[in-house]
Structures are given as C-alpha cells and as structure tokens.
C-alpha cells in the first residue's frame, strides 16, 4: 500500500482528485449559502446531485450526447496547452488558434465545392489543423529566433485571430439571412450517434479527439521526436549541446499546439450542431477551458481525457440547475475553484508525500 501511494503518478492522481473534491465542497457551500440568503425556494442538495450527475436525471440520453459534444473541443484545447507545457512552453493562444481553425473549417465546408462532398469534411479538418498550426507557429518562431515570450505573443494573437475572423465572416454570410452564416455542405459524420442520443448531439468528433490524445501521448512519451521536443522545452541549452536543433524544436512545439487547438475549433464549427459565427468580440472560452483542462489533467494526455470529461459533465449540468432554483454560474465557480486547487496540487502532493514518509518511518 505504501509503495503504491509513494508512486509519483499515484500521488498526482490523488492530488488531482483532492482538487476536485475541494472544488465540489466549495461549490456546495456556495449553494448552501445562496439558498439561505434567498427568498425564492431552492434546493441545494438537489442541485448538488444534479451537478454531480451532469444533469442527466433531467436530460437523459440526449444530455449524455450533449456532454460528449462538450468534451471534444476542450479536450483538444487542453491537449494544445498541455502539449506546449510538456515541452516547456505556455500556450495562452489556444483561443485564437481555436477560432482560426474553426473559421477555416467552416469556410472550406461552405465554399470549396470543387471537392467531392464525401471528402469535404476531412479537407476542412485538415485546413483547420493547418491554419491553427500557422497561428501557433508565429509564436513559436518569435520565441525561437527572437526570444519573444510566447505567453505575450500568443495572448496578442488571440485578439488578432478573433478580430480577423470577425472581419472575414461576411465571406460566408447567408445572403438571404444576413444574421446567419451559410450552413456547411459537409459535417463531421455522426456514425449513428445521432440515432442513439437524438439529433444535435455527439458526432465522430469525440472519437477523433480521443484518438488525437492517444497519439499525442505516444509522441510525447515514446518517440525520439517527443524526447527532442521535451529536451528543448526543459533546457534549451542542453538540447543544443546534444545536437538537437532547438529552434526547430520550439517552433514545432508551438505549431503542433496551434494545430491541436485549430482542430478543436473545426470539431465545433462543422459539427452536427454547427455553432454560428455571429459577432465575435469575445475570446473563445474553449481556449481558456483548455488551460483549466490541462492543469487539472497535469498536462498528461491521458489525464486530459479525464479532466476534459469531468469539466464537460459540470458544463452539461449547468442548464438543469434552474430546476433546483439556481443558475448555472454555480458550475463556473466550481470549475474555477477546482482549477485554483489544482494549481495548488503541488502542495497537496508534497503533504501527501510527507504523510506517507512519516507513516513509513514510524512503522
């Protein structure tokens, strides 16, 4: 038992679970306090149960499909941030890369009629990967050749991407209904998921996202390429000393991070529901959710699959909270507390380690 608990991976997982636990407790306290302060009837225990089950008691199978749909974009932006982090870079630009990728996918799926319809969605996804990658690459190149901090350049690129896309939306506007964009000709296949969960829910995107997560895990942990990228990230000078092209490494890391977010955007904008580009004057929240997901998942691609699912469950519960007399902001607070707690997870891990060691020496 002690040896099991002493393993770093086990400690990491326990620390992450503790963060979640604290987040949930805190959220529950807020529910309690809120219900005491309000005159309107509200049911905190009921609400907590709703959150914990992702609202499925009300939404049922269809709700499950919606949760699956929530997972894929934040799983990919989470991977984007996590991948960059594993290679020593902090990608705050997931939001911009996400929007750039999403727009590219939508544009291709609407305009590139010269491509056979059955392949169009694949081309759209690839286009999103490419454009997201280019946005990420800009930060990478600046870091590699001019030593510009990637945090700053990627934050700024968020706005550049967002406003550029806002200005380009007119290209894909519906002539008959100017408030909307044209519907994409091709969408991501549903693989029959729509029949199971009802329409407008999950599609193949969730499988793509999970497959990409596994791929990233293999690349990072098992390949020489991942070894090189991590070496560049952890210690650029040592990587150079070892004959690794550090500039190429940093550029590629940011490019891949951007490509992942770009793919995430595509999974939303040509999905079964197809989110609409209206006025894009808010940074895409999926990008920032990515930071939370990566933190909670400890930047490990496998961990990120779970953390993305967990946060998607919380999000899924949001709309159902009204039935217990609360609004869905409670979920956002809980998520925020969990992220806070997971930022402290290092402390949890240390305490945990000390606790185990103390027990070990006593016995």
């Amino acid at each position: 038992m002690k040896a099991f608990l002493a393993k770093p991976t086990v400690q990491k997982i326990v620390a992450a679970l503790l963060s979640i636990f604290f987040g949930l407790i805190f959220g529950f306290l807020i529910l309690l306090v809120a219900s005491l302060l309000r005159e309107k009837a509200s049911y905190p225990f009921d609400a907590f149960y709703t959150i914990f089950t992702g609202g499925l008691r009300y939404t049922g199978l269809r709700g499950f499909g919606i949760i699956l749909r929530f997972i894929s974009p934040i799983l990919l932006t989470g991977l984007s941030v996590g991948f960059a982090f594993k290679t020593g870079l902090f990608n705050i630009g997931a939001s911009g890369q996400f929007v750039a990728g999403g727009f590219t996918a939508a544009y291709i799926a609407i305009k590139w009629t010269f491509i056979p319809l059955e392949y169009l969605w694949i081309v759209a996804l690839l286009g999103a990967v490419l454009v997201g990658g280019i946005v990420g690459m800009i930060s990478g190149l600046l870091k590699a050749y001019r030593n510009v901090n990637e945090v700053i350049s990627s934050i700024m690129l968020n706005y550049i991407a967002m406003i550029t896309v806002s200005n380009l939306i007119s290209v894909i506007k519906d002539a008959n209904n100017p408030s909307r964009t044209q519907p994409p000709l091709a969408r991501i296949p549903t693989l029959g998921l729509d029949k199971i969960f009802g329409s407008n829910t999950a599609d193949m995107g969730i499988f793509i996202a999970i497959a990409v997560a596994l791929l990233i895990y293999v690349v990072l942990e098992k390949t020489t390429f991942g070894y090189e990228l991590k070496a560049c990230g952890y210690n650029r000078n040592a990587a150079r000393y070892a004959g690794i092209n550090d500039r190429l490494g940093i550029t590629l890391s940011m490019t891949i991070a951007g490509a992942l977010s770009g793919l995430g955007g595509a999974l939303v904008y040509i999905s079964a529901i197809t989110k609409v580009f209206d006025s894009l004057l808010v940074l895409a929240p999926e990008g920032f959710d990515g930071i939370s997901v990566a933190l909670l998942g400890m930047s490990n691609p496998l961990g990120i699959i779970f953390s993305a699912s967990f946060i998607a469950i919380l999000k899924g519960a949001g709309p159902s909270l009204a039935r217990s007399g609360f609004n869905d902001e409670v979920v956002k607070i809980m998520t925020a507390v969990i992220i806070y707690a997971s930022a402290f997870s290092l402390i949890f891990r240390e305490k945990l380690g000390a606790l185990i060691n103390r027990k070990g020496t006593k016995s």
Binding site: K222, T223, T224, F225, Y227, E228, K230, A231, Y234, N235, N237, A238, A239, R240, Y241, A242, G243, I244, G353, N357, T361
Partner: protein, 509 residues
C-alpha cells in the same frame, strides 16, 4: 576552552536518505573548524540545521552552553550565527551598501538613513582589510568581491559564529589566498569560523581542527596540525586515496585535431573572445588549456564543439574541416564534450537519469527503432553506466537529475560522454566542485583515455590539476595563446606569469 557551539545527536532525514545520522559536534571559541566530507556526506545539511534552514528530526543545539531553539535564520542571527552560502544571496542591482543593510536597515521616522550604515560598513571594511567599495553595484564587482560583501553582511550584523559553505569553489587561486588571510584576520578579532570544504590544502592552510563526515555520520574530529593529508582523505572517503596522479609518460601519436587561426566574436563586447588561435592535438596526449577564468577558454571550447560559430579560421579533425559542421556531426564523428556548466549544458534537469544518459545517443539504433524509444534498452544502459561510474541517487536510473548531488550529476555526464567511446574528449573543469575520491577517479579516467590512444583537451582553472594531469600546457590570456609549456619543466609561479599576461611568447608548432 569553551565550546561555543555544541550540536548534540543531530539527525536529519530526507525522503529516502538520512542526511545526518546522530551527529555530535563541538566547536571551540576562536577556532577555524573545518567540516570535511565528500559530496552528499551531509556537511551542508548539518550547517543548514545550525543556521535554522532545516529542522532536525532529533537532537539539540547548544550555543555557549545554553540550549538554543533555532527555527529560522532570524533565530540563528539572534544567536550571532551568520552564513556565507555557496551561491551568494545578493541583490544584483543593489549596491554593496544596500545589500549589507538589507533586512536590518536603520530607519529614522520611517525614512531610511544610510549615513550611519555607510560609516559602519566603511569602518568594518577597513578593519578587516576587505577593500569593499560601498557604492558599487553587485553586478559590477567580481565574484571574490561579492563574497566579501557576504562576509561584510555577517560582520555588520555582529555575528560571532561565521559559517562558510565551500567558499573557495568559485574563487581564483589569488582570491583564495586572500580569503584565507581574511579568515585568519577574523579569528584574531575573536570570531569563530565553521568552514565547509573538501579541499585538503585549504584545511591544512587555515583550519585548527577538522571534523570529518562520511555518509551522514561523523567519523572523527581531529587536530589539523597532527594529521596528515593522506589520513584525512582516507577518513573522508573510507579508503586509501592517491593524492598524486600516477601516470606513464605520454606517447603522442598522429595529429587528430588541428586548429588554424580560429577567431570567435565575443558576445559581450566588440572584440574577439578568441583571437587567431592555432594549435594541434595528438592522439595519446592530454593537452591542457590553462588560464584565469574568462580569458576565452569557454569560447574556444564552444567553437570546437559547435556551440558558437567561428568568425574565421579552420578546425581540421580527422581530415575534415569542422568549421561549418553541426554539433550533431561533431558528436557523431567522435568528439565528446564534458561541459563547463553542468546545469546549463550538461543535463536536462527535469529528465530522469536514464533519459539524461542517452542525451547524445537517443537517435542511434541502440536506443530507438523507427522513431520509437526503446525504454528497456535505455534503462538497461542506465543501470550499466550507474554501476560502472558509481553514480549514486535516490531512485537509481529513475531519479530526476535535479534531485541528485552535484558530484553525482558530474559523474553521470562523465559516464555518458565516455560511453560514446570518443576519439577526442574535451573536458572543461571536469572536477569542479567534486571531492577527492571523485577527482581521483576522473583524473584516472582522463589518463586512461589518453593511454588508449584518445586525444584529450582539458580546460582547467586549477593549477594543481593542470600541473599533475596534463602532458602539454597552452596558456590563454585575453583570447590568445600566450605560451606553451611542459608541465615537468615549468614552475607554478612561471605558469602564473603567463596566466596573468605578464609574460608571453610566440607559440609555433
């Protein structure tokens, strides 16, 4: 005599290691008491306990016969204990004066009053012959001067028990001599000094008594005057150690490396860091590049290994001109490099030991297949290297290198580089910060390499090392080679003249 400090039965445990195991140590008023031990013997830990940085699991501390509870450095300061850390704790964009008063500023009505402090600092500096300028910025003064500022900080706080943690590791030979003088000065003014080191010469030069630690235990406390260096090193390492380097005469063979008119631009100023340097290295010899730190040796090595671009010149190695070849090309063609800065270049500190041991070879068929790392082989390799080079760490091949001691990190680098079976080994300060046992081992390895017909370039600041290990010496001064010498024929004094630029000759091969 009075025991000014008494540490009783101190035990300090870190996860996986007992750093101090039931240590009892008595220090007399007014003595220089040295703490001798290998890397990881627990010297620094013990002093950190005394200084309040660590809380021991067991044991107690007595200062002047009274039990003292030292929970943090402020408590230590109240008991008159001060410490000069190995890595100085100075604010670089503050002046000397500001650094000295930091934390104990004199304040009048909420306003800093520096005049009094300045008077005291100037006075102290004069009294102890420290020659410190109160208004210089820390970033502008030499490492030796920075150390004096640390000493001044302790004096300003009127500390009577002064702990020096490996104070000479960062100093030049001249600065070391001066530090020794200062330490004696301090003793004559009634201070007590605890002096952590693993250099026997320094103990012989200044210390009155020495306590030897090995693997967390106190071996003995002895008088320096009546104990030989040999027996000190034996107590420290636990076996007999050869202090003199034993080697056969070199048998130089064909030239393997020829540098012609190499120049490299400096990153700091407009001039050349390496200026028009030419030399040859043969198989079967150890060529030593001597010089005072910062005279272009670092840049010369960067040029040879490819870390810096040459601004002009050629590097002929096995009949190829390396000048425009990549770092990877040079490493594959048999040049190994033990870098000067093990944290900057030598290791990826967040990788584990096994991953660091393949830093130069991860892409070879030995460790990968179609782009996938073969972890089974990587860990087998690590276990072999760990065994062969006696690399000690908490979790074996899976230890994160950041958590390893400096000496073991260095052994890991040396092991990794030698395992590539190089034809030319470039070793920069390979024994910096190592203990006698490890130094002996590395010197032996360098000579082994030579005897196997490899060429070795050794860059060193330690005159002892230069004189005892090398077969031929080139002296660098301000980026140029100013002299060539045979270590058997030149005295340390004469070498010093070349190193300080007071003497030079054309070196023609």
């Amino acid at each position: 005599m009075i025991d000014v400090i008494e540490l009783r039965n101190i035990t300090k445990i870190f996860p996986g290691i007992i750093a101090n195991d039931d240590i009892t140590l008595k220090v007399r008023q007014g003595e220089i008491h040295a703490l001798l031990g290998e890397n990881g013997a627990g010297k620094s830990t013990l002093m950190s306990v005394l200084f309040g940085l660590y809380r021991p699991e067991k044991g107690s501390i007595f200062i002047n016969g009274q039990e003292a509870h030292i929970a943090n450095p402020n408590d230590a300061n109240r008991y008159g204990i001060g410490m000069v850390h190995q890595h100085f704790k100075l604010v670089h964009n503050f002046t000397v004066l500001e650094n000295v008063v930091l934390g104990v500023e004199t304040v009048h009505n909420g306003v800093l009053s520096m005049a009094e402090a300045r008077k005291k600092v100037v006075e102290l500096s004069k009294r102890y012959n420290l020659f410190v300028e109160p208004d210089h910025l820390i970033s502008d003064i030499s490492v030796g001067m920075q150390q004096r500022v640390e000493i001044l900080k302790m004096l300003y706080r009127e500390n009577n028990i002064l702990i020096f943690d490996e104070p000479t590791a960062v100093l030049t030979p001249q600065e070391i001599d001066e530090l020794m003088k200062i330490m004696k000065e301090l003793i004559s003014e009634g201070k007590t000094i605890l002096f952590i080191t693993h250099k026997l010469n320094e103990i012989k030069a200044v210390a009155d008594r020495v306590s030897i630690l090995r693997k967390g235990r106190l071996i003995d406390t002895v008088d320096v005057a009546t104990t030989s260096k040999e027996s000190l090193s034996e107590m420290m390492v636990g076996r007999k150690v050869m202090l003199e380097v034993e080697k056969k005469l070199a048998e130089p063979k064909e030239v393997i490396l020829e540098v012609k008119n190499m120049s490299i631009k400096s990153k700091h100023h407009g001039k050349n860091a390496v200026h028009n340097v030419s030399f040859k290295v043969r198989r079967g010899e150890i060529l030593c590049i001597a010089g005072i730190e910062g005279n272009g040796q670092t840049d010369l090595v960067y040029g040879l290994t490819g870390l810096s671009k040459l601004s002009s010149g050629e590097i002929h190695y096995k009949s190829v001109n390396l000048a425009d070849k990549s770092i990877r090309y040079r490493s594959i063609s048999g040049i190994a490099h033990i870098p000067e800065d093990r944290h900057k270049h030598g290791l990826v500190l967040d990788y584990n030991l096994a991953e660091n041991l393949i830093l130069q070879t991860y892409f070879t068929p030995k460790f990968q297949n179609k782009g996938f790392l073969d972890f089974k082989k990587i860990y087998t390799n690590a276990d072999q290297v760990i065994q062969k080079y006696d690399i000690r760490s908490g979790n074996g091949s899976r230890s994160i290198t950041r958590s390893m001691s400096g000496g073991n990190q260095q052994k890991a680098i040396v092991g990794r580089e030698l395992e590539t079976n190089p034809d030319l080994l470039i070793a920069v300060q390979p024994t910096r910060g190592l203990d006698v046992g490890a130094i002996e081992y590395i010197h032996k390895t360098l000579i082994d390499q030579r005897d196997q017909g490899k060429a070795v370039i050794l860059v060193s600041l330690e005159l002892n090392e230069v004189m005892s290990v090398s077969d031929r010496i080139l002296v660098m001064y301000e980026g140029e080679i100013v002299g060539q010498a045979d270590p058997a024929k030149i005295s340390q004094q004469e070498l010093g003249l070349y190193m300080s630029g007071s003497k030079r000759e054309e070196v023609i091969e």
